[in-house]
Each structure stands twice: as C-alpha cells, then as structure tokens.
Amino acid sequence: MSAVIELHDVVALYGSHPALAGATLRVNRGEIIVVRGPNGAGKSSLLRLCAGLVAPSRGTAVVLDHDLSVDRDRVGKRVGLLGQRNGLFLDLSAAENVQFWGQLSGASAAEMSEAMQRMGITNSLATRRVGSMSTGQRKRVALACLVTRRAELWLLDEPHSGLDASGRDELDEVLRQAANAGATIVLASHESERAERLGARVVSMSGGQVVS
C-alpha cells in the first residue's frame, strides 16, 4: 500500500525548542489515524509539519511524494488542515465562506452546495454570519470548506471539540465517507473511544516523538 506520510527521525524546531524530537511515522493511503498524547506532546506540530507549514530541521519527511525539506510549498494544495482555529472569515456568512474557499480551489457551484448539505449547513444557517455561530457550527462550516477543496490528506486538530453528541457522530460519518472516497485522515484527539468508532489506527505521542 502506498504511503501518504512517511516520517523518519524528524526534528522540527520552534526557535530553539524541539516541537518534534525524532518523530517516525508511516501513514498509508485511505487510512484514518488518531494521534493521541498529552498537551505539548507534539500532535499539533506533527500536523503542521505534514501541512508544509513547518520545515523539518533533521530527518526525512515525505508527504504525498513531496520531500518537505525541499518541496514543502507544493504540499498545501493537496492537504486540508483544520487547526485549532477554523480559518474562517467571521464577518461573512457560512455560504460566503464556503463559496470563497471553493472558488479559490476551482470547485463548481454544485460541489459547494453538496459540501454544505453534507455538513448540514442549510437555510438560515447558511446565511448566518460565522462570527455569531457556536463553536460546533463554525467547525461544520470549516469542514464544508475542506470538502470543497477536495484535499487528499485531511489533517484535523481536535475536530470533535465543541461539537455535541450528534455533531460528533455526523463528523465521524463525514470522515468515514472521505476515507472511503480515498482521502487519508490524520486527526489529533484526546478521546480514545473516538478512534474505536472510526475504526482508526491509534498513534501515541510524547515529548515530540511517536511512542507507539
């Protein structure tokens, strides 16, 4: 099976602080991976590195066949990163946000509409200003933007936080559908039961390393 992420002994520094201290990981196409670990373990840094936002200082990091030491600018177009912030424009409506991201990615109007429907963004919610939405609703808008971008690799940092029980189940369904459609999904999460529900492989991090 082909590898989407292949990290070997990767070190990434924030200033002089090693956010990743020799991380090694292989993720295959179509897999769902849940990355667990305490705060400061390096989960978010791992996602940011895979998105091409952080350069490896040492080791080998290949994502979607791009060597991040030399080629990380080209990874972004094929990766969808949903970090601890949602990357939305709070003064625009949900539909306007999806439209903006969809247009930048060359998505059709039908694809944008389908993405919003999949995330349950319809009628009054679609025209509501994102700044006035709950955390869970914003997350759904952000995921709809991600769907319109047709990313091959989804990197999600605590995507279930702020969602109610039904919202979490809906998100799980979206993630399963995306994986079935060929997307590879890596999500950082504190919730161990979430991995079981998703049928995901669990990876643990500590001190900037993948420990199991």
Partner: protein, 230 residues
C-alpha cells in the same frame, strides 16, 4: 485540484475584503469621521485662513495617511481573527494573488475616502483650484493610493501575527511612506497653485509617487509569501 491563477485569486480576495468592509462599514462609520475630525482639529489649531489655504494639501494627506493605518489594520483583523491568513498559506493559495487582492481592496477604500477628504478639506479651508489643477490632483490621488496601498498591505502582512500590531504598524510604515506624504503634498500644492507654484512644478512629484508605487508593488509581489510566513 483546479486552483486559480494569480489574477483569479486577487479578484476573489479583493471581493471578499470589500464585502467584509461593506458588511461592517468600518470605513464609512469610523475611519471617515475620524479623518474628518482630524481635519477639523487642524482648522481649529491653525486658526488662520491664509495658513490653512497654504497647508491644505499637507493636511489632507496627513489625514489620509492616518486613515491608511486604520484601513490596513481592519483588512488584516478579518484575516487573522480565526486564522484565515494562515489557512490561505497552508492551502497553497497563490500569495501573490492574496497580496494583489488585499492591495486592491485597500486602494478602493482609500481612494473613495480621499475623494471625500479632498472635498471636505477644500470646503473647510476655502481652497480654489483650476480645472487642470483638479486633473493633476486626480492623478496624484491615484499615485498616492497605489503607494500607500502596497506599503500598507506589505507591512500589515509582516506584523499580521504579531502582538501590539495596532501600534507597530504606524511605527513601521510612517518612515517608509514619508516620500508619499512629501510628494503628494508638493503635487497638491502645485495643483492648487500655492506660493506661485504651477502645474508643471508638480509633475516630477507625481512621477515620484508612481515610481514609489512600482517599487513597493513589485517588492510586495516578490516577498509577500516570505513576509507572511515570517
């Protein structure tokens, strides 16, 4: 994925920024009254028709420059509040297009603001001008808008993720845009005909405005991605 080119990205980013401004009406409800108040304050402080008529050009451009900071800060606040600027970078969106789009939106807002400020200033300070003077002033406004827009967006991007960006922006940008303030003021004085200056005296200053805009436009295009990443 069928991503857009630089022009397409610029267009969508500009439309997005203008839509956000139209929704919030910050320029109309806050920046414009602020700039008008600055000009009224100048009128009270100088308190002499002769002095005001002689300095009208400089006062209009000072008010414009202060307003530029507010417009640029507003433009970036919408992008950094929820991490959208970083998401644009992470998504591999053409950052040259983002630079051009943000610059275009800032320039549109700035130009419309200038139109109002010039009219307010000339009425308030009782300035008379010939038709050819108005022509020169229009070209001056275009050149100054380009320069202020490019510099504002470039430096705004540099400090977008920084703390205290509200105070950092004027500190960084004021020295850089000093040539714009000087050239626009001299060109405007020539357009008005202050102290015996003629229209012909103003064109070299207008030229400086466009050279300045060209340098920072090109510089911004080449460096914006690295500047925002920093």
């Amino acid at each position: 994925m069928n991503s857009l080119g630089t022009g397409g990205v610029a267009w969508h980013v500009a439309m997005k920024d203008l839509r956000i401004e139209w929704r919030g009406r910050v320029v109309i409800n806050q920046v414009l009254p602020f700039a008008a108040l600055v000009m009224v304050a100048f009128a009270f402080a100088l308190d002499s028709d002769a002095v005001l008529q002689r300095t009208a050009g400089g006062l209009v451009w000072l008010a414009t420059m202060f307003s530029t900071f507010l417009i640029v800060q507003r433009s970036y606040a919408a992008d950094v509040d929820d991490g959208a600027l970083e998401s644009l970078r992470a998504a591999g969106i053409d950052m040259q297009g983002v630079f051009l789009g943000k610059s275009l939106a800032v320039m549109v807002e700035l130009f419309l603001l200038q139109c109002v400020l010039v009219l307010v200033g000339f009425v308030l300070y009782d300035v008379q001008m010939s038709l050819s003077g108005w022509g020169m002033l229009l070209v001056t406004m275009v050149g100054a808008t380009l320069g202020l827009g490019f510099v504002g967006v470039l430096y705004g991007g540099l400090i977008a993720g920084a703390g205290y960006r509200e105070t950092l922006l004027p500190l960084l940008v004021l020295p850089v845009v000093a040539p714009v303030l000087l050239a626009a003021t001299r060109a405007t004085e020539s357009a008005i005909g202050v102290s015996g200056l003629t229209i012909a005296d103003g064109w070299p200053w207008v030229g400086i405005l466009f050279v300045f805009a060209g340098i920072f436009g090109l510089g911004g295009l080449l460096s914006f991605d690295s500047v925002v990443e920093g």
